[in-house]
Structures are given as structure tokens and as C-alpha cells.
């Protein structure tokens, strides 16, 4: 019974993670400039990877592997904003002007 529940929870986690990663990828294609693209790329880092790791921990149960998975998520949460910050700062430094207008539909 518990094994089935763990299986269902891990499936929910992994499918949710895949959903957020796909939506993030779609967002990267749809967004008009680098700054807005970073928003959707950040989504794959936090929720996509996070939900997948949660799903995998449910699959593993309470073992050392789960501890490692949580550590991986922790390191992701610490490092991915720094990468995002470095990218956006480099873009600002390179004088890429952000799209500031109210943008509606399609790609520019």
C-alpha cells in the first residue's frame, strides 16, 4: 500500500517536473528578449528540477540517496540564481536594452 502511494507520489513529482521544464523551454522560445527568457529559464531550474528530485526521493524512500537528492536541490537553489544574475548583468553590461513596452502576441 505504502509502496503504491510512494509510486504515485513519485510519478506526480516527475510528471510535474517534466511539465515545468517543457513550459520553461516553450517560454524561452516565445519570450522576446534575453531578460524575459531568463525568467522562463529560471522556472526549469527551480520547479522543474525541484519537482523531479522530489519525485525521485519518493521513489527512493528514506535512504542516503534521498539525502543526496535533497543536497543536489539545495546546491541548485544556491547556484542557479548566481548564473542568472551573471547572465543578466553581462547583458546589461553589453548594453542590451530590455523590451520595456507592453508586448502583445507573437515574437518580435
Amino acid at each position: 500500500m505504502i509502496a503504491i502511494a510512494a509510486d504515485i507520489l513519485s510519478w506526480i513529482g516527475i510528471i510535474g517536473g517534466v511539465f515545468f521544464i517543457v513550459v520553461g523551454a516553450v517560454g524561452v522560445i516565445r519570450m522576446p528578449d534575453i531578460y524575459t527568457r531568463l525568467h522562463s529559464a529560471g522556472m526549469t531550474d527551480t520547479m522543474g528540477a525541484g519537482l523531479m528530485l522530489i519525485g525521485m526521493s519518493f521513489h527512493e524512500g528514506i535512504t542516503l540517496v534521498t539525502v543526496r537528492l535533497i543536497l543536489i536541490w539545495g546546491f541548485l537553489l544556491f547556484t542557479s540564481p548566481i548564473a542568472t544574475y551573471a547572465l543578466s548583468r553581462a547583458a546589461l553590461h553589453g548594453e542590451v536594452t530590455p523590451v520595456q513596452v507592453n508586448f502583445k502576441g507573437g515574437s518580435s
Binding site: 515545468f20 513550459v23 520553461g24 516553450v26 517560454g27 516565445r30 519570450m31 522576446p32 528578449d33 531578460y35 524575459t36 531568463l38 525568467h39 522562463s40 529560471g42 522556472m43 527551480t46 520547479m47 525541484g50 542516503l64 539525502v67 543526496r68 543536497l71 537553489l77 544556491f78 542557479s80 540564481p81 548566481i82 542568472t84 544574475y85 543578466s88 548583468r89 546589461l92 530590455p98 523590451v99 520595456q100 513596452v101 507592453n102 508586448f103 502583445k104 502576441g105 507573437g106
Partner: protein
């Protein structure tokens, strides 16, 4: 004292990652921890920038709220991306960080970046430059203000 703490933390970390508990491997683990501490001492990087335990505990207390915010804003950004008309209105805004130490500001800026929909693009002293995916992300400001207060509490220097 600091080197002993570093060695203990490193060894606990090693135990968690290795999962092998035979005498030879444990000995190698202890040896590598001591080697790392020795190199760290030689490189003089055991300074005051290390994190205190109380700050770590407060950060752990803060993280459930942060995860809740990440979850909420993720759903929001996913909804925006999947809306056919792509209702975005990118906005740049300036923020004032309330934190007093560099570490507090780093936590605040990273928390802002972690919640999708807002990205820290520039930190200059207390002035933060935030890029928001929609106008509401940076205009409402309630969440960022609450985050500001909470991170100041995590920092604990007041």
C-alpha cells in the same frame, strides 16, 4: 576552532555522500578532510565570511516560506507562458535592500531571482535593480517587501 568545525562539517558531508563505512574508506575520508582543512588554512580562506550556525537555522526556518513563494510565482509564470497572447509587460524597478551585511543582501537578491517573474540584474550597495516579467511583479511589491523583512530577520544583525 574554526578549522575543527570545518573538518567536522566536511566529514559529515563526506559520510552522507559516500555511504561506504569500511575502515579503509573511512580512513581515506578523514585523511582527505584533514588535507582540505590544511590547504584551506594555508590559503587563508578560513575567515569571517563563514556562516554561523544560528544564521543557518534561521535560514532553514525561512526556506519553507521561500519555497511557497517559488511555487506560487512558478504557477503564475507558467500561466503567462501558456496564455496565447503572452501577456507580459517587462519592467525595470529599483529596490532598497534593508539588510546590513553582504551575506544578507546576497540571500535577498538570490531569493528574488529564485522566484520566477523577478530577476536581480544589478546590486550596488543597498540598491537593487529588479527586472520583472510583468508590471504587477514589481509594482505590487508586497511580496518583495515581505521577503525583504524576512531576510533581514534571517540575517539577524539589527
Amino acid at each position: 576552532m574554526r578549522s575543527v568545525c570545518l573538518a567536522v562539517v566536511l566529514f559529515i558531508f563526506w559520510l552522507l555522500l559516500s555511504g561506504h563505512y569500511t575502515p579503509l574508506l573511512l580512513g581515506l575520508g578523514v585523511f582527505s578532510c584533514i588535507l582540505v582543512v590544511y590547504i584551506a588554512r594555508r590559503m587563508d580562506i578560513l575567515d569571517n565570511e563563514s556562516i554561523s550556525l544560528s544564521l543557518l537555522l534561521r535560514f532553514i526556518a525561512y526556506s519553507p516560506w521561500l519555497l511557497k513563494e517559488i511555487w506560487k510565482s512558478n504557477l503564475n509564470v507558467a500561466r503567462i507562458i501558456l496564455t496565447p497572447s503572452l501577456p507580459i509587460s517587462p519592467t525595470m524597478a529599483g529596490f532598497q535592500a534593508l539588510q546590513k551585511t553582504d551575506l544578507g543582501r546576497v540571500i535577498y537578491a538570490n531569493s528574488i531571482t529564485l522566484t520566477p517573474g523577478t530577476i536581480t540584474t544589478d546590486v550596488n550597495g543597498c540598491d537593487l535593480k529588479i527586472h520583472g516579467l510583468t508590471w504587477e511583479d514589481v509594482d505590487g511589491r508586497q511580496e518583495e517587501d515581505e521577503m525583504n523583512v524576512r531576510v533581514s530577520w534571517v540575517e539577524g544583525v539589527n
